[in-house]
């Protein structure tokens, strides 16, 4: 196992990329720590799979280098990298039994029969496949097939990392949770480096220690689930993570005060004069409180059982607020409190750090 370094790695599917928009993956420097559980989160087409395929070697990046530990593997074949990859749709060899599937990568590498048997038995034990080893793989359910394709990666000793490309897409909802817990347990027990691509924030946040959020071919934030929730580095992160997403309001900011259409809102830090250029304030629905008053109007209320979501119109902008289930609210005029510590400032979509 080794740390995986990406050094100024970028990729374009066009032969001679000129402008930033030509890149499927914009230049990225990142170190994937040994034994870390990472999630790559982002909408379809944001470059997640491109990044994953660069790590596994299915794609050679058009720029930059990929290092495993101290070894440059940028131009190495994918088979030499000792990477396990699980794809969106279960890939199994239909004509083989479960055992033959697991043996396949080892046979291709010319291991002796005795070594192969020992290793396959060990992995089957680890994945609870022992009693199914002689079944035909084609007849198994989708989740069992995903486990087998994971197993085919794991049988190779010295696996550097396990990459998952939206592995739960075709799994039944009630099995998803089970399979995810299993992956998590394997990670805790054996400490593989895992990179998990998904567009489902719940999957990402429950699986990973660190979530890498991508948008338009760019990594916009890398952080723990808590950091992503409390201090989104980019408006996209705020909008993409959380349900409903973060509220954003165009504002002008001066010192500790933001002004939205004439209404003053106090902030938790000192920002100096930011002017009016692409400045927004952002606040999560969880931190927006309703009070006595008439500065805003509640337009509708959705009761989700555990809590309610109020759709609010404030100075011509629409906002969402999360209201505790026991608090009774009715559509109509209401006051609105922005928690100063939770009200963040963004310029050109990026978080601005204020001075306390």
């Amino acid at each position: 196992m080794a740390e995986i370094h990406l050094q100024a790695t970028a990729h374009s599917y066009i032969a001679n990329p000129k402008e930033p928009a030509d890149y499927a993956l914009k230049s990225l420097d990142h170190v994937w720590e040994d034994g870390g559980a990472y999630a790559l989160l982002g909408p379809s087409g944001c470059g997640k799979t491109t990044l994953l395929n660069i790590i596994s070697g299915l794609l050679t990046p058009s720029e930059g280098r990929v290092l495993f530990g101290d070894t440059d593997v940028t131009h190495r074949d994918t088979a030499d990298r000792n990477i396990a990859q699980v794809f969106q749709f279960p890939v199994i060899y239909d004509t083989m039994t479960v055992r033959q599937n697991l043996e396949f990568p080892l046979r291709n590498r010319g291991m002796t029969a005795a070594d192969i048997k020992a290793r396959v038995d060990e992995i089957a034990e680890m994945l609870d496949l022992t009693d199914r080893l002689d079944d035909r793989a084609a007849n198994l359910s989708a989740d069992a097939k995903q486990i087998i394709s994971l197993g085919r990666g794991l049988v190779r000793s010295d696996v550097n990392a396990i990459l998952f490309d939206e592995p739960l897409t075709v799994i039944d909802p009630h099995k998803k949770w089970q399979l995810r817990s299993k992956l998590k347990a394997l990670h805790r027990q054996f400490g593989f480096t895992m990179v998990y691509v998904t567009h489902d924030q719940t999957e990402a946040l429950t699986f990973a220690d660190k979530v890498v959020v991508m948008f338009g071919g760019e990594v916009v934030q890398i952080g723990t689930p808590e950091e992503l929730f409390e201090r989104p580095a980019h408006t996209f992160v705020g909008y993409f993570i959380g349900s409903p997403g973060m509220n954003f309001l165009p504002a002008s900011v001066d010192g500790t005060t933001a002004t939205v259409s004439g209404q003053q809102i106090s902030l938790g830090a000192h920002y100096g004069a930011l002017g009016n250029d692409q400045v927004e304030i952002g606040i999560r629905p969880e931190f927006l409180k309703l009070s006595e008053g008439d500065s805003a109007t509640i337009q509708s209320i959705e009761d989700l059982g555990r809590h309610k979501i109020a759709k609010i119109s404030f100075q011509g902008h629409s906002l969402s607020a999360l209201v505790p289930e026991h608090q009774s609210i009715t559509p109509g005029p209401s006051g609105l409190i922005f928690e100063p510590e939770r009200t963040l400032v963004y310029q050109n979509s990026h978080l601005v750090t204020g001075v306390k």
């Binding site: 395929n53 596994s56 299915l58 074949d77 994918t78 088979a79 990477i83 396990a84 990859q85 794809f87 969106q88 749709f89 890939v91 060899y93 239909d94 004509t95 083989m96 396949f104 990568p105 291709n108 590498r109 035909r136 084609a138 007849n139 394709s149 085919r152 990666g153």
Partner: protein
Amino acid sequence: MMQKKLNQKAWFLVLPVFLLVAFSAVLPLMTVVNYSVQDSFGNNEFYWVGAEWFEEILNSSRFHDALGRQLLFSGIILAIEVPLGIWIALSMPKKGWGASLCLVLMALPLLIPWNVVGTIWQIFARADIGLLGHTLAAMGIDYNYTQNATAAWVTVIIMDVWHWTSLVVLLCYAGLSSIPDAFYQAAKIDGASRWAVFRFIQFPKMQRVLLIAVLLRFMDSFMIYTEPFVVTGGGPGNSTTFLSIDLVKMAIGQFDLGPAAAFSLIYFLIVLLLSWVFYTVMTARDAEAGQ
């Protein structure tokens, strides 16, 4: 359990198809059965002869020879067209304008009527004016399909390969296109060789379409008539007289209706039997897997 009411009116819905099949297939077939057990001397007079014609056909060396030639022909055709078709399908580009171009080129021979194909090759292979025949003759090769049995066979086989390999190619190509990229990527990660990719990914995924290709090519080649008839007329001698050519000679040339009818039925049963054998053998593994 839900009780279903028995409704005999449903039979009326099946009636149109039943009549259609009866008039187009069952009745003509019954006429043939009728001829096959009787003898006729014209004047619409028929005499019952029982299984006599069947015994005669089954014991005639003429039928044995034609059947032998037919089996050899179909065997050679399958042995060439199936592997060649798979190989071409594997080498065709997967996407882009190249793929479209290849598909169109491949489809072309399939669009040409049988007798036109026969005529094209009849002229193409002539030693005096044909491009192929003349070139071979100029190179000093003794090639003349009207006199030499081997040359006639080679001509008929190459013509069939040219005409029908495309069908195998198109079917296999469709099978290959249905394989998601992830399979190839997984195989790369597993370190699979080119041969292993074919053996464990491409071939299993092609199997179903390959079954159809083999059945179609077997049946068509076993019943081949027009092309060899146009090119060689069954000769030289009887060397390219396949079952269908022989049957037509017997039924229309000699007007032996009884023996020809018995011949037809035996021919039909052989095609049916061999198709069943192909189907059973090729789906044996699926059945084993309980699919």
